[in-house]
Symmetry: D2
Subunit: 469 residues, 4 copies
């Protein structure tokens, strides 16, 4: 049995969405989550408020499967927040699915979280010791308890106090009976955008969610900013100084959809520039540039443009999102790659190709792809990766394998090249990455490429504690 959780890519942990002042808030939320589906394919959920009570629907599975008419019907009202989620192997269960919902002394409150808190375990132990009961293993639940314990006079202030207690990466959307609240950690690790649809206010992890519902992009939620909307407009409350910024560079490399803006820039343009920069840093003599579809398509187009080598289609991808496949017992060679990709021999035979991919995690799928291309008759394969080697885990909301599973953490580029069976292999440099992103190490997090992390690791500094998103 094999499923789509293969080894070739890191997986983002979550996407969030919020809508206020729209008569069909939950339906827009649902469509927004569909647009954000690539950010999390294990569970989805919406909490909606009609001003009187909050109704919650969460399920394992894909957004379009979870939310049919019957599921959306009870989600009435003009205010809603939603969430899509991946999870690590251990934490994959419905009880951890978001938005989380709780009744506190500050009223009923729901929260959807993208990111990862680095001191959640410590806070949880403290809260449990003084009598709090946790219902999930999600780090996000700590936030609800901190709010519940707060003696601040208003919910908004209680949330601010809670945010000041947590460390790590968070793009958050809260909803109460009448209020929509969005907040982003002082480092701005994960994206979070503000938009408008007529009178309605919308927030979403990526702007593609706005495009689908016809909303207009206004601006990013700023690092260290809390946006508070109680039905009569949006107010901004900066709640923390930002010592520096640490936008996740992997959002540009792979996670975010190319048809949107994050960190204020077009993903498409950045990604194409990654390809161009790669062509400059690591040229190759070849007849054809092909991408590992679809995630490397834009970088490959950039590489082709910069290098002058024609862009072509040599790999066909099947779209089997969220599905699991049963493999015969007499196993099929390279099945994991075949189920997803097929080569087009007529396009490849006797060609020298540049094969562009966005990243290499374990390398096993790449190796199978290389064999598939060899069987299709290519003459030479020059593999080019539009990001630097991944040498460290992410502690800020991305599901990364342990260090020893990361091929680049334990092998040289030469060794990897030999393992993959390519004629040459080159990665983009960290410097080139930052340049293409349009920033420097004070603006972007490149922790997984350098093993140096901009935000204190707290609980994770101890050995053997892995983030459970």
């Amino acid at each position: 049995m094999m499923n789509e959780r293969d080894d070739e890519h890191l997986r983002d942990a979550c996407g969030v969405m919020g809508v206020q002042r729209h008569p069909e808030a939950a339906r827009l939320c649902y469509l927004g989550l569909y647009a954000l589906q690539h950010r999390g394919q294990e569970s989805g959920g919406i909490v909606a408020s009609d001003g009187q009570k909050l109704v919650r629907h969460v399920e394992m599975g894909l957004v379009a499967d979870i939310f049919d008419k019957a599921a959306l019907e009870p989600l009435k009202g003009s205010l809603a927040i939603g969430h899509v989620r991946y999870s690590t192997a251990g934490g994959s269960s419905l009880s951890n699915a978001q938005p989380l919902l709780a009744t506190t002394t500050h009223g009923t409150l729901a929260v959807a979280h993208n990111g990862n808190l680095t001191n959640a375990l410590t806070l949880r132990r403290q809260l449990e010791a003084s009598g709090s009961i946790f219902q999930t293993t999600a780090d996000s639940e700590v936030l609800l308890h901190l709010v519940a314990r707060s003696t601040a006079p208003t919910l908004r202030e209680a949330i601010v106090k809670a945010l000041r207690q947590v460390e790590g990466a968070y793009s958050l959307v809260f909803c109460t009976k009448k209020e929509l609240i969005a907040a982003r950690d002082p480092y701005g690790v994960r994206p979070l955008a503000l938009g408008r649809l007529g009178k309605a206010i919308v927030v979403a992890s990526e702007t593609c969610a706005f495009d689908l519902i016809g909303a207009k992009y206004v601006r990013e939620v700023k690092p260290g900013e809390l946006l508070y909307a109680n039905g009569g407009g949006v107010k901004s409350f900066p709640f923390a100084q930002s010592p520096r910024q640490a936008h996740c560079s992997f959002e540009n490399i792979y996670f975010s959809r190319p048809d949107g803006l994050i960190f204020g820039k077009s993903v498409y343009m950045v990604r194409k520039e990654l390809g161009r920069q790669l062509a400059r840093e690591a040229p190759a003599k070849a007849d054809l540039v092909i991408a590992v579809p679809d995630s490397a398509n834009v970088a490959a187009v950039g590489y082709a443009e910069e290098s002058g080598i024609p862009y072509g289609l040599g790999l066909i991808r099947s779209h089997y999102i969220g599905r699991t496949f049963i493999e015969p017992k007499q196993s099929i060679r390279d099945f994991g790659a075949r189920i997803k990709y097929n080569a087009v021999p007529e396009a490849l035979r006797e060609k020298r190709i540049v094969l562009v991919d966005d990243s290499i995690v374990r390398g096993t799928t790449s190796r199978k792809l290389v064999r598939m291309l060899r069987r299709a008759g290519v003459r030479a394969i020059h593999m080019r990766i539009s990001s630097p080697p991944i040498v460290g885990s992410c502690y800020y909301g991305i599901d990364t394998p342990t260090k020893k599973e990361l091929i680049a953490a334990t092998h040289s580029v030469d060794q990897i090249s030999g393992y993959l069976g390519v004629d040459s292999l080159a990665y983009l440099s960290v410097k080139g990455l930052l340049k293409a992103c349009g920033g420097d190490q004070q603006r972007f997090c490149v922790g997984c490429f350098t093993d140096q992390y901009p935000i204190p690791l707290m609980d994770f500094a101890k050995k053997d504690v892995r983030p459970v998103c």
Copy 2:
């Protein structure tokens, strides 16, 4: 509510698969059907034989959802056939799902059919009048009754007699307890390929099914040929003269996957040639060639190569195969296009583009796409279609709207251009199509482009009788 059955493409009716002499016949069948999923997304089914009895599992839905371990477990044995299916609105039900299975005086027999019989209704009326009871509304069931009624001494001969009674298009796979039988109509309308995997024999609508399971392509099943395999090898029985051939040209234009061979040629190469020929027939002054993804990607690459205009990515496609979407009551403008596509403004702004699509059926989605591109800031849109205008229905196994729904059947190219809102519109010529396919009107069916049909329409010659696939 809107689902993926939009108006932009014709839908193929079916795909078939057969495996013999392999200990995991049903599992290979299932993988083959997954590779053929694009040929039919409404239902899937497998019949397997362990030499003693035939076991059948059919369900509505996608192959990967239908066949989990529990569903595959009872499908034991070394012989299996499978089927994926679309259907017209009226005939969409589980009872019509294939393979069909029946016990006849010649033994238990299962059949999977791709194509459409043009005299099925007439034959059915005759059979009912003499006491046959039909269980489905599928034309394919007629074949089973003809076999059941046959007094021929062997099953093979009974099938041959049945095939000589039916008219129309058929690529068929039969299985009994021990025999695998494949047959193709004398015109060779739909593809059907023969392959080998070690000792095992495989047949499939397209060779991509072979690639996934590691089987080798041997040759096409010939028009008018019946292949008979009883476990000890394959024998060929030509059962009818082919007055001419009538390979479906739409298989090359849109249906078949580009990573395979049909009618003995590479779909990729033919499709790229369609784009090249289109560039020759209908050049345009533009800065960028973009495809309506993914079906027009190859033709767009061909157009770009021939024209010298750079190929780019301007539309991002969501893959929501087989899913239905709920639209807000306050409907979203161009929702039908947005749910599937999003434009990348940064790639398109101020550009003059050639927009390549493979066909236009009703034109409504194309119109929405054009508006989406305009909103993204393109300066000019030159739409180029890699097939001629569709002016007639298909009677040989493709689900076509009625003539009055086909925009090109009732409007000139100029009128369509105005409706779509493009700066220019051009279709490939029939002659150009045949040239790119590498044949002439004696080899390919171009009925839907010319309203002239190579095989007698029989029942459909009467008014108001529409094919029910």
Copy 3:
């Protein structure tokens, strides 16, 4: 794992229901089937006609689970027939569930059957040899093919011709677009009653179905009679002479509900008389008469009345209709009895009891019950059975174990008494049974008590052919 298909009782094969000229025909049918649920708990189904087309819904399971609002909604029209069904182990599948539905040259026709045809296999072989395709393994399907093959000018005549070809036991309800037809075999083995509800005509296996919907009992459908109702009233067509009658005596002993009439008499009165007769034939010295609840309640009351020994409650029964239970691996002694019954020690301690049951099939549950009563402290158990020893299988529609599983077929009453561990055991005599039923061997079938069968066994005369209901 153990389920309710225990060994203590024979199981009836089916119940049928029909309604015509009522705006909610399907809903009444559904309620009638609920009242007939005891006649078959494996599957249920309804076919309804709105005058234009027949719609069918069948499912495995209990009537109240199968038919919710969504399931009933499409069953429109003023005409409907229904069916509940048991089945033997091998034949338990949805494809055999009734009513069966087929399109024939005489139009679309549905049929629901209670009984068993003794020459179905022979007829099936003949029909298959001349080209008929069967979809089920149910004997009832033969009837549809005989009708489809008939060249009779009308459907009614075609049915009559078909009925004259089959042998065995049948109470049948047919429906077409506009006609309701009921028929009963010439021996009148299974019950079938005619009723009225205002203008509406109803037929049902038992009159309790009439009581629930408020219909009035009119009369039995006569042996060898076909009732034909085309919307304008009911016409009677005798189609066969009745050489003798063969009402199933087990309907009185166990199957039919006590709150109805069958074969024209009150089941309650007959069953009480069975108890009285038993008391006369086999008196006992005891302090208390208790029944094995609920099926023996009435006979026990009769025994108590006739004997003058007080009737009491000593066994409590759980109602777990249609459910399966998981037994611990460390198995619980007499679990099969405990899951269904519990003794009331306070009612039984130190008492000498008459334990009345309606029949003994394999004896294993009875044995467990006896042990349970011993543990509860009874001093003596005089077991009395309100039917004769079962020594032969039923071939007319009841699911009986094979002869060697029937304890009375291979053991004397003394041996059974020893096996059960009772102080005394007595069965009702065949003569006493017939007397209580109010008839003789020319009116009632007592085949399972005498191994002499009133209707030719045909196919079953051959060894190893068992009825598949």
Copy 4:
């Protein structure tokens, strides 16, 4: 649509079960819950511990439907507790289903509760005000938070402290990784019994749960007693003085199964004595005593014995436990009674009957039953109720309608008699009830018959606060 939640009976809120030191603890728990199914038919659940972790499975529905092999498989270990539950209309949801499970500073803890806390709302408000987050609306969750907040050095002491803070009725079973704890309120309102099965310790609401699994009854858990079992035996900790006792008299009248012991006595014997006492207090001239089956069977036998009038069967009951029925739009007269009962005219015609029922709540079903008996031809109906008129709600764990829905709260016996249409009506006196139960007002709660309540109503003393069990 009508379902089994008719008006004729009060509904018990819950049943609990616990097993320790048995290798198949969860399976025994499941069987025990099946035996207790009558105490709660809306949801069921089990928490099991293998010594390392607690696993929980709860679902809406009946025990036999919830727990199949797959559901039981993960419930490993030698310790388990279980719960079946009714709920009021508003509170019927899976999130309230028990056992509840929480991780506290005292470790992971599960609890199953039968009863109702009268100060839960007050406690909840206090806990929420100081930062606790509640996940359910169940009163039982308060207990978990009190334990979590407790600074007592051991879990056992923390539970004792929590129990001293709550008021009302509770029979509780807790489990941790290794400990089984049972406790009962100082009034002993709900039953709770201790048993043994070899080395294993079992506790259950009623002893019928012991009978099914072959366990032996040891004694009741005493009012105000906590039993603590950590794997090495059971220790008793009295935690509160009992000012008086308040055993629920309705357990004897209706709720508990007759085949068990509660409050140390046989339910069967008490219930028969209720019938005898009723016969003494309210004799009638009649030919036949019949019960409303099955709940009044024992009382009717008692009435018959005492009065000398023969006991008979005049009403047949269908067992449609937990099912919902769809009624035709042209509604059937007295449908609510017909779906459950049918009269046997032959047993009733021209008879004067004593109709024994255990209680009358709203009276609507009784009225329908009376009409059904009239239609069956009875000459006179003397209705006798084996409990006093219900004039007040229960606040200790029984789901009662509001006072204005209770027919006896607003009508005299004469008025009720007229409404029901009986020839005479009599209830048992409170004195007679207590006498039959073998106690007095210092031992039994008769609050619902007198509107005087033995335990302070606390939150419910305020108007408009209704218990949510």
